[in-house]
Symmetry: C2
Subunit: 187 residues, 2 copies
């Protein structure tokens, strides 16, 4: 950020009087510009024993596979955002289940939230941001062609929990989730 988005003056980087870290501050209109991490919301859409994945038609990671997910927008809840992204990227309608992963991605300044989800019917298709969409059994997951570490972590934890018979909540850094809160419900 070089200019104030409120008045167009050049900003100065300094620690505001009532703060403890450097911000972009406008010397003309006194606006302090805060920049914070963004939220990515997505789903793990399940049909029977298979998972719905999308092949990305956009950068970053064009041509790699992902769970449907994207930036949470203003004026929507995390639930609504997860449903919207699942529709936009995979043209799929799902019923949301519990939050499954809440993963910090420090490098990208993002937090990724994935909800478990069940396809309402086995119909789906490639939205404008996908090249291809398909259902994959555990043995068919293209592990070497997954787009993001949060996707591989979420899928790994999902299959582990499914095997154990208890789905949990996994939080922490993408490289090593530090907390697992198991669900009380089987299946």
């Amino acid at each position: 950020m070089k200019y104030c988005s409120n008045c167009g003056s050049e900003v100065e980087y300094k620690i505001p009087a009532t703060d403890n870290r450097e911000r972009a501050c406008c010397p003309a209109c006194n606006t302090v510009h805060y920049v914070n991490p963004k939220i990515v919301v997505g789903t793990i859409p399940v049909w029977q024993d298979k998972i719905l994945l999308c092949k990305r038609a956009i950068e970053p990671r064009h041509g790699y596979w992902t769970l449907p997910a994207g930036f949470m927008e203003l004026h929507e809840t995390t639930h609504a955002g997860a449903l919207r992204e699942t529709w936009e990227e995979a043209q799929a309608r799902v019923e949301l289940g519990p939050l499954f992963t809440c993963l910090d991605v420090l490098r990208a300044e993002q937090v990724h939230l994935f909800y478990r989800a069940t396809l309402l019917e086995p119909t789906f298709g490639a939205g404008p941001e996908s090249l291809e969409v398909g259902l994959f059994g555990e043995a068919e997951i293209p592990w070497d062609e997954l787009a993001f570490k949060t996707v591989s972590t979420t899928l790994t934890r999902f299959f582990e929990d499914r095997q154990a018979g208890f789905y949990g909540l996994h939080t922490g850094d993408v490289f090593e989730p530090t907390h697992w809160t198991p669900s009380h419900f089987k299946g």
Copy 2:
């Protein structure tokens, strides 16, 4: 936003070619300025059967009581942010437990994450953003003087779960959490 933070030109509000909603777009340098919800991270700090609350020394809600919480910053995880806010507002050192609430606050364009936490020792104090900090038993909570709906919702769910003997994860809109994932562990 009226001016491009990259080049200082006046922005235009329009739907970019590859998008489906209006953004602030710069006609000079072609930057698209995305604005997304912010994350607030906090804790429910417990010492024996009491909860640590802070009386706010800043607006909004100056003089009202809150759980320690604040905006997640760049270059930190949600865990680190929750620990930092607990230190900054309540001068308290805690061990984090599982994520307890993930609540949408549409009006404020925020998502609030509260982690369960245990005080490492019964020492605390008012940081620069607090007038006063204290431990409250369930019967002593100043319900009519709580600062935010996410705080009252989080405390209500906490005492319900404590009573039930199972702590869960509560997600959804602040006015009505839609999912409860109980923990498998008692206490």
